[in-house]
Amino acid sequence: MLKDITLGQYFPGETVVHKLDPRTKLILVVVYIISLFQATNWISYAFITLLTALCLKLSHIRARNIFKGLKPMLFIILLTAVLNIFYTTGTPIIPGWPITWEGIARAIQMMLRICLLITGTFLLTYTTSPISLTDGLEKLMNPLKKLRLPVHEMTIMLSMALRFIPTLVEETDKIMSAQKARGADFETGSLVDRAKAMLPILVPLFVSAFRRADELAVAMESRCYHGGEGRTRMKKLKFAARDIFALILGAAVLALMMFMKKLGI
């Protein structure tokens, strides 16, 4: 079950979407999210859904991987839908019932919105290697260094965290198996019981994570890590014509969505 976690996963590829500068992609994701929240009507929803599908097609990401990523969010998505169905006023589908036509429409739109939101961010992490993602982030936040914010330290922590997700997931699986072998029971009992049963997993996981962190720090120092000062990068970030094109396109989409919102379609 833990193997399904897709957070921070990256699928290497050679598509246009992969080749875009990480800074462009980071900006575009923000633009995308803002655009998404401008959608109020079926036409605008259809437009942004089509746009997302087009980007997915361009990036050669398989739909299966998107669904896999959406699965852990299923509960939240369904909860939002149910709440919207019951709490929207309008014409009931059957007189006297609390379910309204407007509620159903809103529920579908909300589900669509959450799904698109997640898909958009997945599109970023699936097509950008964590290293270039954090590089891009560091470059974008560079002005904050003037405010004495430890931008380099923050981004290197982020990239280490992303690097160790699969390792720690694997480790959690191992510890769970070990505790199950000794008779631990994670599946039955009340919620409190189950939460308590997690303790024998968390304690060894934390201990080992700290040990790992210690060893990692020594290994990094052994490889001459001494902070961001004087550090160079193998892959220099470069804006290409396609990045400018993509940014203009992003701005156009945002403008169009805002326009559609104003018109009420």
Binding site: S129, R163, E215, R223, C224
Partner: protein, 278 residues
């Protein structure tokens, strides 16, 4: 031969410990040699290794690498650049999600030009035979492959000495062979000085020099054949010796007239045949 590492009267005591972990070590490591360090847990071999690139500095005595004193904090980066270190756990020393990005980590820290980093990364990956997998995610590789990536990550600094602190302890037999073969090739073909720390006796057989440590002291130092020949000492330290060495030793104990030492089956057979002729 020129000594690249000089250790003089090295004493070390971990803070808070009463007993010394290293009590008086004098060693010189020659350029281009393959030195194996053998010893049990707690013998001080890893502590010794950590002195070679200034992760630890001596409580007493002096360690110099390429003429630089490791206690000199201003020269820290120079020391670490010259002495590359590979650790036991392959997962805990890989810093990036893509093999080639990980290998680039050290030269990036050293502020090397991007085009030069690219050249070094490709070169290092070819030397350890991982070039084809350079776009892979490290967590999907086998233990032996991960450890080879770690070795590449160190070679990319272009160090003169590479210290491997029990690099095979967490690997399966296949992975162990891969790592030992890679390191041996680096030493023989590229002239890299190798310090290989292990508790597997069989990994020391191919070394130029074998150092046995116990209780923070060097108890034996010499050619592997000579060191293993002292079967009594090795047994006292609880270490095993190659079967062939033991056979020759036992035959000699029983009164056979065998000269020389044998580290592999063929040499052993020859020695026994020689002895039978008399």
């Amino acid at each position: 031969m020129e000594a690249v590492v000089k250790i003089e009267n090295l004493h070390f005591c971990y803070p808070g410990d009463e007993a010394e972990s290293l009590c008086g070590i004098d060693l010189e490591i020659e350029k281009g040699s393959f030195v194996a360090v053998l010893g049990h847990n707690g013998s001080g071999k890893s502590t010794l290794a950590k002195h070679l690139n200034a992760i630890l500095v001596p409580t007493e005595g002096k360690v110099t690498v390429f003429g630089i004193d490791t206690a000199d904090e201003d020269q820290l980066i120079q020391v670490r650049r010259n002495v590359g270190m590979v650790f036991q756990n392959p997962d805990n020393q890989i810093v990036a999600n893509v093999v080639e990005d990980d290998v680039a980590f050290a030269p990036e820290n050293l502020g090397v030009e991007p085009s030069e980093i690219r050249r070094r990364v490709d070169g290092a990956l070819k030397q350890v035979g991982m070039y084809e997998l350079k776009m892979h995610a490290p967590h999907l590789l086998s233990g032996g492959q991960k450890q080879r990536v770690a070795i590449a990550g160190v070679i990319a600094m272009e160090p003169g000495v590479i210290v491997l602190d029990e690099p095979t302890a967490m690997l399966d037999p296949q992975g162990r062979r891969e790592v030992v073969a890679t390191v041996t090739r680096l030493c023989r073909e590229k002239g890299m000085t190798v310090v290989f720390i292990t508790h597997h006796m069989d990994e020391c057989v191919g070394a130029d020099r074998l150092i046995v440590m116990s209780g923070g002291r060097v108890v034996a130092d010499g050619k592997p054949a000579e060191v293993f020949a002292d079967v009594e000492l090795m047994e006292l330290e609880g270490l095993s010796v190659p079967e062939t060495t033991r056979l020759v030793h036992d035959l000699r104990q029983a009164g056979a007239d065998i000269k020389g030492e044998a580290l592999d089956t063929e040499a052993c057979a020859k020695l026994i045949a020689e002895a039978l002729k008399h």
